[in-house]
Subunit: 336 residues, 4 copies
């Protein structure tokens, strides 16, 4: 049994952490902080958690008693508190972008924020870094788009079968967070498709960094907002360096992800769709079609709030504490 | 550990039974039948159940080996097989309308189907009939609209505080089943609201029967299709026979449903919404407002596929076999 | 040819006024004001009006040169400027609630705003007040819910066939205006139904006032937000004082609205739906079903931004200036 | 004044032809055929056309009296009737794929239908073939995806600035037609994104043919179904052969489409979205961003039922008969 706290528990990722942790048999939630809602019952903000008898509390960083803290805080805010938490010998899974980059310059350029200084963090993609995560004190939980994109590209990078990736992603609106804006206003984004940050999205350098560890690859990334609550469908267009059949392509992926508890390889010919992962921590990868230009299409689907954020954070926690990786995450998606 | 079979497992209610049962610690799924998909893996039809290594089988009623069968079969089909299952000393939870009515005449009039003959069935609304369900061999699982409507009206009926109920329901499209029709075709029902069976819906006599057990009440029921996948929000308009404050009204409901594991009384002033029950077996009841015509408004929300169908069916099974009523159903809703 | 200005042109009703007026053969748009966007092209805010070569201007009430002004300003703001416009001998169609009430007390009670003083205004529902509108200097354009509700109830009131009306409305999200809020945030209201102001909506006294002109009737009104961009579907539940057949009911409505250019009586048995009026100035009225409690159901549909706001405002303008009432409004709905 | 008939008037493209033609000042609709609904009023199928007093008729190809016929018939059906219509000296705009291809082999390979024999047809994209359309007897109306894709790519092809195009399209569900299927069933496609025919969509060779007229280019095309009623947003990813700034790219497009009545160049930095063309015949083209891999992104938006089908068909008719090209199509989009 471990004691766990959530800093920044009133947003969507906070809500998802609470949804899973409240049913985790080895976790006691000792704090769920929110400056705005301190003293109010959790279910005033997260109406689906009626059973959770817990109130939001105010943050008191210097005085936390926990084994692990999830920092579901904005970019730039995490780096102000994470060092203080680590000093108290508490492990951290940080859901912001603050500790995802190898070099501070890239972060500062793309986020436009002066960095407070690097820390020894592990990039929290278990399918790639499981062994390092086991012993990490600080895990930088991946961004939502990078999770879907890296998982869809990595086997081809690893096998040196492709080096140019055009990544066209379609994301649900919850990815924009809980704060209402003109773009997320229902009449503006319902029945609509809205491309944004077409060539300059912050997740681009994160995807590049991870895919280029062995040798540099070209990554072009473009996200679109679609009228969906949850989910990211990522369409990877890439040009194969060798002639392959779809079945060969499929088996490369099946081999690479063999034994992975949350990766499901969807057979060539079967349909991919967001509803098949809605609310779950699974990542589906499939399509494997190749056209006469030797362009291959690989498609991945995740729930941006789960495998793309809070579910993956809990998966990392499970690894860090030696729990079964699926604990509390072994819930099927909600389809339809 | 009990052996459970599902007859008619390829529809939405079949998918929901499988979603919950596949994680039920005391259940082994021994059969999931589908004539159309016999021999195919479950996940070809239910893409969210990738982990479920099971194939659809063909029905062989005479040769079932199970402790309980869920018959998720159409109205008229259930009564052809339920007697044969019961004869083999297997318990049944029937999700059709075939065994919900006290008198066959009402059924035949509203369903337009000749009935094969009544059986000793218990109406499976645990909040009202828990004790009878415990010992039932055949449970008639309530309709989706009746579940939301009866739970929202019953305390007022019981307290003799009202006798005329205008029930205006808004249902998600999954309530129409998995079979595509012109009405459920996305371009026709998205961004739309469509009233249907405005005064002659089959669930009207079912609601009437249950609310009129003690003394007759007037029930007027009108459903509307709204562009939502799951959920029924039921707005009950009724005229109170006494002056009451909203708080008094709320406390009547809180008292009536005290200790119920799946009923959540939403405080007067708090918002009700479908997402707070999406994917879960909860029924939220609230609003409790009263206008200057002494009209009271009570609102309930359920997920039509869960508390309105498969979740309630499993709740009934849990009661029938003495399991904790929440087993496998203790999963929070997915909001947003 | 008349000169027309719009005060408050950057909201949804402003956009709709511009959509129709820009194609009106007898209107020149001389001003479209917006403090926030003054100097910017209209199409930066209204992206569907790419052909409209016009910029937002700042408001200068003392110095307007126009034949008519639409005040698409918030409640409380209209009454600060409308008297000044009328003094310059310019006609006004006001889209706020400021001049809709016979008595200031009702307004002040329900809107919580101190009124600046009444003016001689005509309630702008052409189907009821066409003759008065012809000579009006100030037209108070009706609220969106009242438009759909009054049109659906009036024939029964007029014929003294009913005196208790339970009005259950379902509205699209654009009715909440262009300003984003937590409720209109896509992840919160998509795939959802949200009742609000269940017994205390400001449109209640407006509906009551109009339906009670001849003799008092009981009006209970409850609105719900549904995941639809445009449209209000109003379900009127009422108890008939006489036995009538659906066909008799239908013919009462057909007679009452005979010759009305924008009212379409939908035959009993035909489906009503929002898409059939989407983007158009029509109001469809139908259903006409009666159950065994002598409850009749009448359903109306409008586009809240058109017949419920800007379209009706232009219809009023057409009447005030002797134009054909359908000028610029004779555009079919967009279905699907 | 010309007499116009529609063969196949009960589908969505038939409904859109009727929506515009019913308000066309130079057109009389002499026939709207539907075998299924012959004898029924148009508004039973197209509920938004309440004012249109016309009934569906049965087809009698040998006995048509019209100046032009729109054949809104399925692929394979058009080629059985178009020759017979042309023989009666009646012009035809065919909305199927039957006459879009230069060589029959390509058609037969991709459509899997034996062709009845080629005819002298003009590909009906006015922005490219306006002069030929003027004198055409038979216009092959372009496919919906090709319209958006070709218009977005052509200036770069014409200027020889790119030769590899990865076209990632997102389409509304009405593109699948009026016939309900499992994929278009609301619970299956709402809140979802579904890629389909990822490398083998029939519109691929049509796009290739038109873009490769001068010199061959590589076209890779992938469509996705998104939960939108109308609209196609096409994201073109291409690699520029020269260094260009976004502004230079924008001005190439502005120059190429100068004077085009329905093409709107959206300034670099402004957002593209489907609602800005919803219900209208416009095609918006913009984005013009270039990343550090010299990948340029061009985005186009159309309403698939209007510029992607019926609106363009009427635009072609207007050109064929010397009418102002915008006649009856000069209606702004419906946003929000």
């Amino acid at each position: 049994m471990i004691d766990v706290g959530i800093i920044g528990a009133s947003g969507y990722t906070g809500g998802e952490l609470l949804r899973f942790l409240s049913k985790h048999p080895k976790v006691e939630i000792v704090a769920a902080t929110s400056r705005k809602y301190a003293g109010k019952p959790i279910n005033r903000v997260h109406p689906h958690l009626q059973d959770l008898e817990l109130e939001f509390s105010d943050v008191d960083i210097d005085n936390i008693d926990a084994d692990l803290i999830f920092t579901a805080t904005p970019h730039g805010a995490s780096m102000k508190i994470v060092p203080m938490i680590l000093e108290q010998d508490i492990k951290v899974v940080d859901l912001s972008g603050d500790y995802r980059f190898d070099d501070i310059e890239t972060y500062e350029k793309w986020y436009g924020i002066k960095h407070e200084g690097p820390l020894d963090a592990v990039y929290g993609l278990p399918e790639i870094y499981r062994d390092k995560i086991k012993n990490a004190k600080l895990v930088a939980n991946p961004g939502c788009f990078p999770t879907g994109a890296i998982l869809a590209c990595m086997p081809l990078v690893y096998e040196k079968l492709a080096e140019t990736f055009i990544i066209d992603s379609k994301t649900g609106v919850s990815g924009a967070g809980i704060k209402p804006t003109s773009v997320t206003h229902y009449p503006n984004c319902s029945d609509n498709v809205i491309p944004y940050n077409v060539t300059d999205h912050r997740h681009t350098p994160e995807i590049r960094q991870e895919l280029s560890r062995e040798h540099p690859v070209n990554v072009s990334f473009t996200p679109h907002l679609v009228p969906v609550i949850r989910g990211i469908l990522t369409t990877v267009h890439t040009f194969l360096k060798e002639d392959l059949t779809p079945k060969e392509l499929e088996s490369i992926y099946a081999g690479f992800y063999q034994g992975e508890p949350f990766i499901k390889i969807i057979e060539e010919g079967e349909m991919l769709r967001l509803s098949a992962v809605r609310g779950s921590n699974e990542c589906h990868i499939g399509c494997f079609e190749i056209d006469d230009n030797r362009r291959a299409v690989i498609i991945s689907t995740i729930d941006n709030l789960v495998k793309g954020a809070s579910g993956q954070a809990i998966q990392n926690m499970n690894i860090m504490f030696g729990f079964d990786e699926k604990t509390s995450l072994d819930i099927p998606a909600v389809h339809p």
